[in-house]
Amino acid sequence: MFLGVTSLSGVINQASSLPFEQRLISYLSTKLPEAREISISGLTQATEGLSYETYLFQASWHQAGKKMIQGYAVRLQPLWGPVPPYDVEPQFRILQSLYGTAVPVPRVFWMEKDTGILGAPFFIMKKVEGEIPLPWKSAKGSYNDPGQRELMAREVVRVLAALHTVDWKARDIDFLPPPATPTSYAQREIKRWEAIQKENEYLAEPILAEAYGWLKAHIPRAPRTTLVHGDYRLGNFIWRENRIAAFLDWEMVALGDPLSDIGWMCMKVFQGHTGKVNGLMDRDEFLSSYEKLSGIHPNPESVLWWEVFGYVKLMAILSAGLRAYIDGRRDDVRLAIFEFDALSHLNLLAQTLGF
């Protein structure tokens, strides 16, 4: 028998004395009024990701004489964590807006900001079947098959180009503020992540002050304003039948400079020991395929700027996560590891800056 789950942030256990499973069933019964005898099985917490908590489960019920089965994923907004400030809404709404476009995303069903239901704001989406390819997952995983990797490389570029060419003005994306000038997004990002870094001074490494100084002196101009994912990389998509079935983790989505996603992708931290962009393709090949599909020229100086920026952003994320742990707001020990994890990022940052 399933007795309940332990939430790493503790939000679930604080909400009510009812087991999480029971609370989910009660919630589903309000959203599926025709459903009878709703039951839940296979409730598990995903270990990927350290920000939002994701729980996967299968719901079964009877409706109009038929047995219905549906896989769901519930994403719970943490109170504290690596990517503050938290707001579940933009993530939910962008998934709604992109569903059915050339950018594959999970279908979302419901969003709630009422913390009395599950203990934190959340949204529920359809569980997308497939695999999250990662080098360390399994020797038999699709990432470790050279043929699959080649297909993955093409898909990663295709979906990124599709995202950057979405006609956002024609879609209902008024919840994301567009940058006022070609440099506004970069300036806003610097301001946002530097503030997070300063608020969480545990990782106030002097190299970061050098990096911020350099970044502020070389702000790039965006070639155009597009939707940007904010964490576009291997590990954030589901792979099924030779294609990307869904891109995940939209918590940093914005309207901004498309080259921010390109710089993020190019960061050595996501190369492993392969020397390839996301362990999938050569940098030149990536940039030229992207330009061909998107029509956006990835200016090398701008890409380098966004790469350097990527490291300071990553460090701010680590700082906020570490702070949440050290201050006792989160009990996930993996956040404590950020203290040591930061070193390899700082090393790559110093190399990218040329020292």
Binding site: D331, D341, A350
Partner: protein, 161 residues
């Protein structure tokens, strides 16, 4: 040994094991293991202080850099708020080499920021020389840290052990 001290990190780790993990363990044997871990963690900070002399050369160089930064910034009208914490850190006396190193790193962060902020008003030649010195120090510090700490096995953690 860096900005965040070992004492602070160890205190939180012992709290987590006691507060979140131990209660979830199903057998007395596993709970005894976790109690032993808590005891070991509680005593590790003292051991770390024994290794703290490794930090001394880096701390000396940070002091030298901060003194140079203080001198350059002192020539600028309005840089008082930037100078104050540098003076305070240089004047501090700490019995712990770890605490001293952490404070120096934090102040160096603010000093670098101030050097960028007041760049146009500073002596260009001295600033350029100091920047090179800072970068050389940061590289050495990073190499030393990388030699001491073990790489994080992120993959194993994320897939759940």
């Amino acid at each position: 040994m860096r900005v965040i001290t070992a004492n602070l990190l160890l205190r939180r780790l012992t709290e987590t094991v006691e507060r979140s993990l131990s209660q979830q363990l199903p057998t007395p044997y596993l709970r005894s293991q976790s109690t032993a871990i808590v005891n070991l963690l509680s005593n590790l900070a003292e051991r770390m202080e024994e290794k703290a002399e490794l930090l001394a050369p880096g701390s000396r160089e940070m002091r030298n850099i901060l003194e140079e930064a203080l001198e350059i910034l002192s020539a600028v009208k309005g840089a008082g708020t930037a100078i104050k914490p540098i003076k305070a850190t240089l004047g501090m006396t700490s019995t712990s080499l770890i605490e001293e190193s952490a404070a120096l790193r934090q102040t160096l962060y603010h000093a670098i920021e101030a050097l960028y902020r007041w760049e146009s008003k500073l002596d260009g030649e001295r600033l350029a020389a100091l920047r090179i010195r800072i970068r050389v120090h940061l590289r050495c510090q990073l190499d030393q840290d990388l030699a001491i700490y073990h790489p994080v096995r992120a993959g194993k953690m994320l897939r759940g052990g």
